[in-house]
């Protein structure tokens, strides 16, 4: 049986998680093999705003401006995870990512090469489904 949460409950859950990121956290793209306790190698690191997310609305929080990584570390392996973490490196959210590319062959996965610029124009987080 599905569990349904009120909008207030979903907002509270989302805000509780995003608050844990604290000031000046990072969005990090990582290769395969990452765990919360032992994150894998970073392919790109994008600084979040001092206040990472705005207040949740309808259960979803939208990230404030994210700074591009203009000189990505890169990796031959494809990006497999994204982590949202504190400025001290503690992972708050880790997710496996799947990509749909607009104009390249995605058979080999999403790769970031050394020196590439990686930008994030939108980022939302939803703790609980409606």
């Amino acid at each position: 049986m599905a569990v349904t949460h009120s909008t207030a409950a979903r907002n509270a859950a989302t805000d509780a998680v995003t608050t844990l990121i604290g000031a000046s956290g990072n969005l990090v793209f990582r290769i395969t093999g990452s765990t919360v306790a032992s994150p894998s190698a970073a392919a790109a690191t994008l600084p979040l705003s001092a206040t990472a997310f705005g207040a949740s609305s309808s259960g979803t929080a939208t990230a404030n401006a994210i700074t591009s990584d203009t000189n990505a570390a890169g990796n031959a392996s494809a990006v497999a995870f994204a982590t949202l973490q504190t400025s001290g490196g503690t992972v708050v959210i880790q997710c496996a990512v799947a990509a749909s590319g607009s104009d390249i062959n995605m058979t080999g996965g999403l790769t970031v090469a050394s020196g590439d610029t990686v930008s994030c124009s939108s980022l939302t987080y939803t703790a609980l489904s409606a």
């Binding site: 994204a82 799947a98 749909s100 590439d116 990686v118 939302t124 987080y125 609980l128």
Partner: protein
């Protein structure tokens, strides 16, 4: 431990990669699942607490 699991969260993002060598900009829409085990559960319709090799069932 209960085998019941709750609904999971979701991360959605749009990223752009500007290739150093070519200057070409590629855009991707990424959907994040909170962990790969959850992703496998959703794909397989199974519960990893009951189906892991370690448990032998």
């Amino acid at each position: 431990m209960s085998a019941l699991t709750g609904q999971i969260g979701e991360v959605q993002m749009t990223i752009q990669i500007t290739r150093k060598e070519t200057g070409k900009v590629e855009e991707f829409k990424l959907t994040g699942f909170l962990d790969q085990e959850k992703l496998k559960e959703l794909q397989n319709g199974s519960n990893t607490l009951n189906g892991s090799a370690e448990r032998g069932n």
